[in-house]
């Protein structure tokens, strides 16, 4: 996806369904998905020497850390390697990736997201967790985490923290959400006229926001990634203590507060 200079941030996600579909894949689609899953697994093997361990579908860092684990759906296997280097050493990180690098079109990618979310959720539910985890994601894979969080709450009756980077919510999720955007990014809805706070309040009762002094595509680069990790660490720590996200936020990094960010979170 390319961000146009004057495109409303909400419009990037219009193709993502607002409702869960629960439509099973047909036989030919299952074959395609099995092939992609196999390639994802082979791709994961290339980074296993970078400190992570393979546990099922996940590449896991700091497994024995004391904090609630983060299950993060990335664009590729490089991103979890980079993020794990700067997260709190007590923060377990379970990395997974979307199909975006393995399919030709955005529509195909979206078409498999529900199935992929189910696959990852099944793997997540096999891990014994005394408290609900953090389910995180960046950009194009966001719908995967959104579905996982909704289904986790449905199946476990516990609210995970949904932590998203560069995505405006599409589905109703009755749990805490922390939305992060680059202040200069075209995916930042606070740059546009529509009321982002009101929009989120229609879909969740406990949301807050963080604005990084960064642009789209730069979040895993050397300077920004440390600041991204600070946001993630703080949100994870607060959620671990309270099971919620702080209503004292939003947090705006280095620069003027954006229009629409003055209102306290729901």
């Amino acid at each position: 996806m390319q961000a146009g200079t004057d495109r409303d941030a909400f419009s990037f996600w219009e193709a993502v369904p607002e409702m869960l579909s629960r439509t099973p894949l047909c036989e030919s689609e299952q074959t395609v998905v099995a092939g992609i899953v196999s390639r994802v697994s082979v791709d994961m093997a290339r980074v296993e020497g970078a400190g992570g361990e393979r546990i099922g579908s996940f590449l896991v860092f700091n497994r024995s850390g004391s904090r609630r684990p983060i299950f993060w759906c990335f664009n590729n296997w490089v991103e979890p390697v980079l993020l794990a280097r700067v997260l709190d050493p007590e923060q377990p990180l379970y990395g997974m990736i979307s199909f975006s690098r393995f399919v030709d079109t955005w529509a195909t990618n979206i078409g498999y997201m529900e199935h992929l979310a189910e696959t990852y959720l099944k793997a997540l539910l096999q891990i014994h967790l005394p408290k609900s985890p953090i389910i995180a994601v960046n950009c194009q894979a966001a719908a995967i985490a959104e579905i996982m969080a909704i289904r986790y709450l449905e199946q476990r009756g516990m609210r995970p923290l949904l932590l998203v980077l560069e995505y405006t919510l599409r589905k109703r999720f009755d749990g805490p959400v922390f939305l992060m955007f680059g202040r200069q990014s075209n995916y930042n809805p606070f740059r546009f006229a529509r009321d982002s706070v009101a929009h989120s309040q229609t879909l969740t009762r406990n949301a807050s926001w963080g604005l990084l002094a960064a642009d789209h595509g730069g979040y895993f680069l050397q300077l920004t990634i440390a600041r991204l990790a600070t946001f993630v660490n703080d949100a994870a720590a607060y959620f671990s203590r309270t099971g919620r996200i702080s209503s004292d936020w939003p947090r705006v990094e280095a620069g003027e507060q954006s229009s629409g960010m003055t209102e306290s979170a729901a």
Partner: protein
Amino acid sequence: MQTPPKPDRDEVVHWLHLHVATALSESSEAVDVNVPLTKFDLDSVDSVMMAVDLEKRFSVPVHPELFLNADKSLVEVADLICKTPAA
């Protein structure tokens, strides 16, 4: 605690040279240590793993971005690494 010695520049160049040649499945003769890394067909996983392996081998902190935005040659990368205090 004694600080580990800085890595030897020639040794780092040699290591990088072999590492890139192996990643590209090329002979070392085919890899010019004086051209920008962008000239080679390395993907982001190659780049990050090179940084991680280099850290382990020479006990120096190496940020993967050194290889991800690789407008530097292997010799220039080795120069930077050898100026970095050992971990």
